[in-house]
Every structure is written in C-alpha cells, then in structure tokens.
Amino acid sequence: MTEDRTVEDLLRTFAPQVLGLLVRRHGQFDRCEDAVQEALLAAATQWPAQGVPDNPRAWLLTVATRRLTDEWRSESARRDREVAVARREPAYAGVAPAADAEPAVPADDDTLTLLFLCCHPALPGSAQVALTLRAVGGLSTAQIARAHLVPEATMSQRIRRAKQRIEAAGARFSMPGPAERDERLRTVLRVLYLIFNEGYTASSGPDLHRAELTGEAIRLARILRGLLPDDGEVTGLLALMLLTDAHRAARVGPDGELVPLAEQDRSRWDAAAITEGIALITEALTWSPPGPYQLQAAIAAVHAEASTAAETDWRQIVALYRLLARVAPNPMVTLNQAVAVAMVDGPRAGLALLTPLDADERTAGHHRLAAVRAHLLELAGDVGAAREAYLAAARDTTSRPEQRYLEVRAARLTGQG
C-alpha cells in the first residue's frame, strides 16, 4: 500500500465525521460541505509531502473551520488566508485538538445522519448519488465527474443544486423521525445499490474511473452495516454487492465482450468475496425477516455455491424468486424468475411467465424482456423467433457491450432455422 493510498483512505474515513461535526456546530450544510472539501484538498496535497498530522481529524476540522470563518469574512481576506495557511502549514500538524474538538455525539451517528440527508426525497436520484459520493464518500467533484463521464462543471453544478434543494426543502441535520426513518433507509440502500451498479456494469478501459464506484459502494455499505448491524436488509445489500462483484474478473472476456453467468470461468471468481458474502447472508437470514436485498443475495449465493453452471440448484432459486416476487413484486423480478423457471420446468413455462410483461408499461418494449425471451426461445429450439427477439433486444439497448453480445447471439442462429 502506497503512502498516497493511506492518506486517501484516511481522508475518506474522516470526511463524513468532520462534516458532521461542522454542521452540528454551525448549521449551513451547504457551506460546511464546501469547507470540508477544501480541507480534504489541502490535506491531499500536504500530507503526502509533510507527513500525516498526529490527530488528522482535528487537523481537518481546524482547517475546515477556518475556511468557513474565512468565508464569513470577505473574499479577499479568504484569499490572503489561504496563502498564509499554505505557508504556515507545518504548525498545523502539531496542533493539539481543542477541548471542544471532540464530538459530543459519536461520529458514527453523524455519518448516518449525513447519509439520510444526502438521500433526501426532495432530490432526484442522480443528485442523491452525487451528493452521497461527495459528502459521505469524500470523493472530489472531479472524481465524481470522471466516474459519470460528464464535465466537472456539470457535476459541480449538480452538487451545488442538490445542496440548495435540501436547504429549500427545510431539511435539518438531524435523524428523521421513526415514521420517516424506514423509508429513508430504503432510499439510502437504493442509492448505494445504484452507485454499485454504475460501477459494476462498467467494464474496463475508458470506464475505469467508473468501475471504482463499485468499491466505493461496498465501502459505504460496510460503514452502514457497522452503524446498523441489526438491519437485515443492510447486511443483505452488502452480501449482494460482494457476491455480484465476485464475478468481476469473469464477466468480461479478453476483448471486452460480456460473458453470461452460465459461461463464466468460475475459477476466476473472487473466492474471498464469495465466502464473506455467503457468510453474511446466511447469518442474516437466521434472524431477519427476508427483504428484497437479502433474497437477491440468497439467490446470488446459490449461484456462487455451484462449481459449474450445470450444478446450479435451480429449484432453490425458483423458490427464492417466488418469495421475492411476493415481498417485492416487480416486472424485472419476473424476468429473472422466468429464466429460473425455464431451467426447472422447461423453456415454455418460462416463456408463459413473460406474456403479461408485454402489457406492463415498465417492461413493454424493454430490451431486457426481448433478451430473456430470445434466450428462452433459443432453449425451446425456436431458432427463427429467437433470432428476431435477439435483434429486437439489440436495437433497443443503449449499451454497446450488450448490443454486441445480442448481435453475436443472433448471428449464431442465422442459417440454423
């Protein structure tokens, strides 16, 4: 592990804690958040060269507080002070934390409050993601912009706007009441899973920065689990992420092509991630009522336990999907359920499950529906219809790797029917 890596890990760990303390003292989430970002930036440039201060959190808090008070004075005074801070830096490293620098409430609680604030219902999903990554994840705007393949100015504006909206909604830095808390936690989980998927679906090459989001989502899910060990869905989400991410090395072929689950080289799966994921979900299911993330993790665990695709316990997977469809009815669940049913009761049984999805506006015309139908038609030996369905799916997807995969599947069937 390099020195830079250590510094970055430290900074990312302290970022939400320092921000929590600052907001608790001064209010003004928007300004505090900017001040913490500036302090992180200062630390990222100074620590690797000058060494990590004895009390890194107090250092960050001191610098961020200064930025904040400077801003409250005039712009020109702020500029002067930055120069002074930069010159005087070594002195900061030795600064002992002031008596009031230690938190009156555990930093953990602040991190949870922050997560809840960033996932405020007044924000659109894209803003929740961006703000969570910056305020809780401690990522810079530039890093977030790179991961989302948008200019930094665009991302910076999106984050500024998100903070304004939170303020306009009258949100305060406090835990939502019990009635609201549950729903907000579901949103937090959804946002973390969104971040995970943004990273996971990115393969390599130009998407490398985006792929890092996967690790960040897992890190945040771990933190959340540390804060809420008694919530089965939090554990379920972490297990689901670990079990999914375990496929990373096997899910893309040497030329960047997608490799479906059934054809992946399972020796390339991440055994440590699988062991941890299975342990987490197995333990959670012994005491928690099974929610959607736990059930999806349980399904992923069944796949992980099969050393070859042929050994997959499809009956168990079908049973889990049935439960999932009851707990969280959703046409996307039905799509996956159809594949599992086809493996147990034959492709025609799977195809029958797809019929109602043509009338559901969430799935009608969706490329995933066409892709699953194509797969099942191929299993049923209906080559002509399978080919048509693959091509329809290829036309409708906006993902290049998926399009390539679907076109290859269609091409393999050409001339066979």
């Binding site: 948008v150 665009t154 991302m155 706007r161 679906t201 479906p260 290049r400 399009q403």
Partner: protein, 121 residues
C-alpha cells in the same frame, strides 16, 4: 441517461427574422442554456457553420473522395447539437420542445447516447 438533441433547421432562416424576433430567439436559447447549466444537466453543445461550408467524403469508384456540399440535399440541415444528462427521456423531450427553432419550422431529434457499460446477460 445521456441524450444528444440534434437541431435541424432551414439554413439561413434567421436572416428572414425581424430584429426583434432574432433577439427573442437568441434570448430563448441563452435562457435554456443557462437553465441546463444550473441544473447540472448540460454536458456540451455546438452550433455548426452554414452548410455551404460543408465538405462530404463518400466512396466514388471504390475510393473515398472529398466533395463540396452536404451529405443530404434537403431543405432542413443539421445545424448543431446539445448533449444533456437527465433523469428521464421525458425530460430530454421537454428540453427539445422548448428549443425555438421548432417554432420556425425546424425539428429536434432526441437520441439516446450509447453507454459503454453493460449488465450481465
């Protein structure tokens, strides 16, 4: 989700506008661009020069040849684009519907931009 909004209009149509109409049109464009910048939806955009300055490369007798003039001979020509990142296709269409060229007989095409990411199949 990222979209490219393609602006199609009749080249030179602004020449026929009154001073007032022209000012209003550019004002509307400025206002939309300002809004998209503030919301953090704008990724980029460019206006293109008059099609009379276009060169087109196509295959002639088996080899690429550079020709004067646009690819398509049509009344409306591709005049520029906006790239936006927004939460729904409805939102992208809503932005396009406000673009002033549409009122002057032009058209906006809303086209999703392909993504390099893909889900496991």
């Amino acid at each position: 989700m990222k979209y490219m909004l393609l602006i199609w209009n009749r080249p030179g149509f602004t020449e026929e506008l009154s001073e007032q109409e022209r000012t209003a049109l550019f004002g509307e464009v400025d206002e939309i661009m300002k809004e998209l910048t503030e919301t953090g939806e704008l990724i980029g955009g460019q206006a293109l020069a008059n099609p009379s300055q276009t060169l087109t490369v196509r295959l002639v007798d088996g080899s690429p040849e550079v020709l004067d003039g646009p690819f398509m001979e049509s009344k409306e020509q591709f005049a520029g684009y906006l790239a936006v990142d927004c939460d729904s296709p409805q939102r992208a269409a809503e932005i396009a519907a406000r673009w002033p060229d549409v009122r002057y007989g032009g058209a906006m095409e809303v086209r999703p931009i392909m993504d390099e990411a893909g889900t496991e199949m």
